[in-house]
Structure formats: C-alpha cells, structure tokens
Amino acid sequence: MTAAASLRTWYWWHKWTSLVCTLFLLVICFTGLPLVFHEEIEHWLEEGKPYAVVAEGTPRVPVDQLMASARAQYPDEVLEYVYFDEDHPTVYIGMSPSHAGDPKLTHYMRYDAHTGELLHDPPNLHEEQFSFMGLMLALHVDLFTGLPGQLFLGFMGFLFVVALISGVVLYGPFMKKLDFGTVRKDRSRRLKWLDLHNLLGIVLLAWMMVVGVTGIINELSRPLFAIWQGTDLVELTAAYQNTEPPTQLASADEALRAAAEAVPGHRIVSFSHPGNMFATPHHYMVWTHGDTPFTSHLIIPVLVDAATAEVTAVAHPPWYLTMLALSQPLHFGDYGGMPLKILWALLDLLTIVVLISGIYLWLARRRATEARVTRLMQAHQHSGVAIAKSARASSSEPVRSSATGGRS
C-alpha cells in the first residue's frame, strides 16, 4: 500500500470510529463530570438522619444486630450485601425480593454503626436511577438497561480507543511542517479548529487512552467476574458441590472476625451474604482491601463457611480481576485527593473540546466538499447555459433583430 493510500485508510478508520462513538462519548463525558465528585455531591444531597456523634472508643453495634433489624424491616426479603463506610460510622445493608432477581431491585438501608439506628431507607436501585446522581450513573454506565447497555457502551469505548490510535497515526503527517502546539488562528476557522483538535488530542492522548481502556474493562466487570466464578471459585468450593446450603447460618460477626484473622492488616470493605450472586450458597464472601497504597486498590475475597464461620479460603484473584480492580481508581480519578479530582474534571472538559471539534471538522469538511461540488456544478451549468445561449443566439438572431426593429 502506498503511503497516501494507507493514510486514507487510517483517515477512514478515524472518521467512522469517531462518528459512531462521539455522541455516546459526549454523554459519557458530561455525566462523568458530576460522577468525579460523586462522594461530595452525594454527601451534600444526602437524605435521612445524620449519624450520632459519639465519644472516641465507643464500640460499634454487632453486625448481626443490624442485620436482624433489617430483616425485621423487610421480613419477606433476603439479605444481599453489607457495606462498611470507610469515612463515616455508617453501615449499608442491601436487601432484595430474591437472590435470583434483577440486581436493580436491591435497596440499601443506611444504619448508624454506633447506635444501630436506621438512618435512611431509600427506594431500590431501579427507582434510584431517576434521582440526579442515579441518572448520571445510568447514562454513563448502562443507559438504564443493565448488562446489554454495559456491553454496548463498552463497545463504544472500544471504538473510542480505535479513534485515538488512528488519530495518533494521522497526527504525524499533519504536523510534518508545523511546530508542536501551532494553532493557526489567523487563517480559516476550520484550520484553527483542526490545529486545536490535533493539539488537545495529542496532549490528552495518554489520559484519554487510560480512561478509555479502564472504562471498557469496568463495563466488562460482570462477565470477568462470571469467568472467575465459573473457574477458580468452583475449584475453591469443590468440597461443597454436592451438599445442601446450610439452613442455620453462623453469626456474621464471627465470620468477619475469622476473615480478619486470615488476612491481618486488611480492611474489610463489605461482604456478600450467602446466596447473593457474588457469594456462594455456602459462604459469606468477605471483600477486603490490602494495607499498602497499591494493594489498598486490590480486592482480596475471603470465603467463610456460612455454617461454621471458619475460613474456607483466601482467594488470590487472577490477573483479570486485579486488572479490573485497578481499572476502577484509574477510571474514577478518586485515588489522589481533591486536586486529582479537579484535574480529572478539567481533563474531561478538554476531552469534550476534542470531541466537539472533531464533529465540527467533519461538518466543515463536508460543507467544504459540498461547496466544491456546488461550485463545480454551477460552473458546469454556466457553461451549459452559455452553450445554449450561444446556440439560441445564432438561430434567433434574425427574429430578435426584427422584433427590436419592429418595436423601435
């Protein structure tokens, strides 16, 4: 392939992959802005009662007691998930009508970790989709459709990455005669925005690539997790395969204590209740974070026998779950304090400029092409009219002269 032909191919890829994904990417970028600050916004919008301010060293209420309170609140439902807030003394308990149902039917009650009081009892995730932050999240992640929407937006992310790669290939020839950072403002508007598109595109390249690729990986979280459940987890729980799930469950507090002893230094983030889609019918699945800056981003699951509260296994997640765990901070930008979040938001805003300038350049180019076609057609018509005129002129000359002669 000649250099010109291969460039044309790259240009084709850049144009079409961008055009297909840009609208979705714009929605993702705009909804991503508030999501970067979701902790702050959620705290600010938080409904329900505040947690009690207590003296330091006040013991926390046993988790079993909170779970009993949740069960009393919704006796017909099942317990799915218990989550320990890292920054506030609150505990979230998720319940749903059944373990096998739509995960969006789960609702999370917020409890005070010291008093055991129910602070907030919001509607389920399906209804929460229509709160402000729920709306942002749904538009960003799954377009209200769960897994199909996640896979679809993941594919849009893939097209975005292809657009970035083809864009880099085109950057070289475009910049052959230009210095880095050149923005030709004194020429046509199209040229100015072409230069800006190239400049911001290359400046943001690494960030857009990282956020794009980690976005794709996050959209694949359910399939990746399902692979683990279908392979490693099956091996870890092989001994339980042909046994009935326990009818009498061991205390969750005992299970948590056993898990903490199995992974000293780790922070227990949450656990999935036996029967939940992320646990097993026989185990509490306790999710822990490591104790170094790096391992604090990883998730180490500890399987605790639901009947005996003894640790069955500390699972060592395979590379793809490690990749998934690392893809979260690298996508959310929530791992370096408020300054990193602000940088994330600014980088996101400039990405929007790259996307919109891309659409503008496509439209402007189309307009330029159309204008050229119109000009050509006009030129063609003019020459056609001229020929017709001259033909008519030669044939009608006597008539016209006689007419004018007659009138004068």
Binding site: K177, F180, T182, R184, P329, L350
Partner: protein, 63 residues
C-alpha cells in the same frame, strides 16, 4: 539524519507528555504524600500546555 530530525521534531513533545501523564497516573496509585504532589504536578503540565497553546495570542508561524 534529516528524517530522524523530523521524527524527533514531531514526536519529542508528545512522547514527553505521554511519559509525564503515565508517571502522574501511577504516582498517586502507588504512593502517598509526596507522590500525590508529584502526580498532581505531572498531570497539570499536559493540561497547562494544552490550554497555554490554545489561548496564546495568534502565533504566526510560517506554514
């Protein structure tokens, strides 16, 4: 010689910015304290360069 010069003229700045961004993204992930500051700085530089060249008043480079 000439082609090598033109390669570095086009790609030196982008490669530098990619390296800075990657370092900035990883610094805050793998460390705390001073590494967070390093991360903020390394990510602010590409941002500043992008905006800086954008708002710089008319540069009349020969085309």
């Amino acid at each position: 010689m000439n082609s090598r010069r033109s390669f570095s003229r086009i790609w030196a700045a982008p490669i530098g910015l990619i390296a800075l961004t990657c370092f900035g993204l990883l610094a805050a992930l793998l460390g705390t304290g001073i590494w967070h500051w390093a991360s903020w700085l390394c990510l602010a530089i590409p941002l500043g360069i992008g905006i800086g060249y954008w708002i710089r008043p008319g540069n009349k480079k020969p085309v």
